[in-house]
């Protein structure tokens, strides 16, 4: 497999779009809607801790992917089994994101179009992109991230006349349990998923800058999400709780001089690109990971069939949007917690316990 290298800056950008990814249209933690923008910041702090710890794995085994580390730490058989679990997680994440976007399109714009017609073109370009490799993903990601950041910053000005600071109050009226649960949910769902990058870090050309790059990306992504949420609350007030896609919804409230109205299609398309990168990263990692577990020389041939699997999964992952929302609220934090925090920490712990010999092997 030819090593494709990306720069730390590109890694940061990838982290940004991966984190923003699908959360931006289907936020978790609606329960705490009014304070969500604050919870995002708390969750960001929490997640920075998680990821910081997880990155110790990369420090300990530089140049090794997560799966290679698993085999080191747990031995080949158990290691591969755990890696397989992660593959499932990546598949689920990718398919989930795809499902989110198809649902979004289906409920907001293309109500009569069959799922497949929306899924198929998307999957085709995702497969095409993945076959071109990580470098291409990273490069095409850069303008997309800049566009999204630009859009979010521009929205600050667009919503100025619809923004009511009164809507932000009260700051804390939720019970501690709600706050805690939703903070955790956000910490593991958009932020914790960055555990995926443990598979890609060896492909960064300056390993010593990796940690800073990942953390910086998370901070920027967290800041953007928080800002967007802040605006959404200020514009929608408590109405936001009503909507399935509040961050898109608040763009519908923009009215500037009778001309700029009904703008939601623009953020919708823009946020789609973030999800696009996210799904592409999932598929890429899935292919590379499978190739690694099965000790193949090339991941490219796997992209196509795995893309088809993602497509099938995306159709078969949620029976209905209501169950989807339910899942996000109740189950997803636990699943993500298992994969994004528990397993990496376990690996780190075991590797410390098994100690010296491993390190020698690694070095």
């Amino acid at each position: 497999m030819a090593q494709e290298l990306i720069s730390p800056r590109q890694l940061t950008f990838l982290v940004i779009s991966f984190t923003i990814g699908s959360w931006i249209v289907l936020p978790s933690g609606i329960e705490a809607w009014q304070n969500l923008w604050l919870l995002i910041l708390f969750a960001l702090g929490q997640a920075l801790g998680f990821v910081y710890l997880s990155l110790f794995l990369f420090r300990r085994y530089p140049g090794k992917t997560l799966f290679a580390v698993h085999e080191f730490v747990y031995g080949p058989v158990l290691g591969k089994l755990i890696s397989l679990l992660f593959l499932w997680f990546f598949l689920q994440t990718g398919a989930g994101a795809l499902a989110v976007f198809v649902t979004l399109l289906k409920t907001t714009v293309f109500t009569d179009t069959p799922d497949l017609a929306l899924l198929l073109p998307w999957v085709i370009i995702i497969v095409y992109g993945c076959r071109r490799g990580l470098e291409v993903i990273a490069r095409s990601n850069e303008p997309l991230v800049l566009a999204t950041v630009g859009l979010i910053l521009v929205s600050v000005f667009l919503v100025l006349n619809a923004f009511k600071a009164e809507n932000l109050l009260p700051l804390f009226n939720q019970s501690l349990a709600t706050v805690f649960w939703n903070t955790l949910g956000i910490a593991v769902f958009p932020f914790g998923q960055n555990v995926l990058f443990l598979m890609l870090l060896p492909q960064v050309n300056r390993p010593q800058k990796v940690r800073g790059a990942v953390l910086r990306g998370m901070v920027v992504a967290g800041g953007l999400l928080s800002l967007l949420q802040f605006l959404a609350v200020g514009v929608l007030g408590r109405t936001g709780e009503l909507f399935v896609f509040p961050t898109i919804e608040f763009y519908r409230m923009i009215i500037i001089g009778q001309v700029l109205t009904r703008l939601e299609l623009i953020p919708l398309l823009n946020f789609l690109t973030m999800g696009f990168i996210k799904i592409m990263l999932c598929l890429y990692t899935l292919a590379v990971g499978t190739a690694q577990i099965l000790e193949l020389r090339a991941y490219r041939p796997l992209v196509l069939p795995l893309g088809i699997l993602i497509l099938v999964f995306a159709r078969q992952i949620y029976p209905s949007i209501s169950l989807h929302l339910h899942y996000i609220e109740e189950v997803q934090p636990l699943v993500s917690l298992f994969f994004c925090f528990f397993l990496p920490m376990l690996t780190l712990g075991v590797s410390f316990l098994r100690g010296g010999a491993q390190q020698e092997m690694a070095s």
């Binding site: 689920q92 398919a95 989930g96 499978t290 190739a291 099965l294 000790e295 193949l296 020389r297 090339a298 041939p301 796997l302 196509l304 069939p305 795995l306 088809i308 699997l309 099938v312 999964f313 159709r315 078969q316 992952i317 949620y318 029976p319 169950l323 989807h324 339910h326 899942y327 109740e330 189950v331 636990l334 699943v335």
Partner: protein
């Protein structure tokens, strides 16, 4: 519909496989074929209207059951 799916899959297979054969990537070919067959199988099931279980509802039921158990236990 099923015929169309099979044709598309065969097309995709023919698109990818010759390259692998030329490079003598046998292992890759095997995995590729396997995954393609899996995809084909699932697609045909979907197309023929067989009710497949929804992935996340399994999790939801599992976890909700767990939560309920915990709630009733405590």
């Amino acid at each position: 519909m099923i015929v169309l799916i099979v044709v598309v899959f065969i097309g995709l297979f023919l698109y990818e496989a010759p390259g692998l054969v030329a490079k003598e990537f046998w292992r890759e070919l095997a995995v590729f074929t396997l995954l393609m067959l899996l995809g084909l199988f699932l697609s045909i099931l979907l197309a023929s209207g067989v009710e497949l279980p929804y992935v996340e509802s399994i999790w939801v039921e599992l976890f909700m059951g767990l939560r309920k158990m915990l709630a009733s236990g405590s």
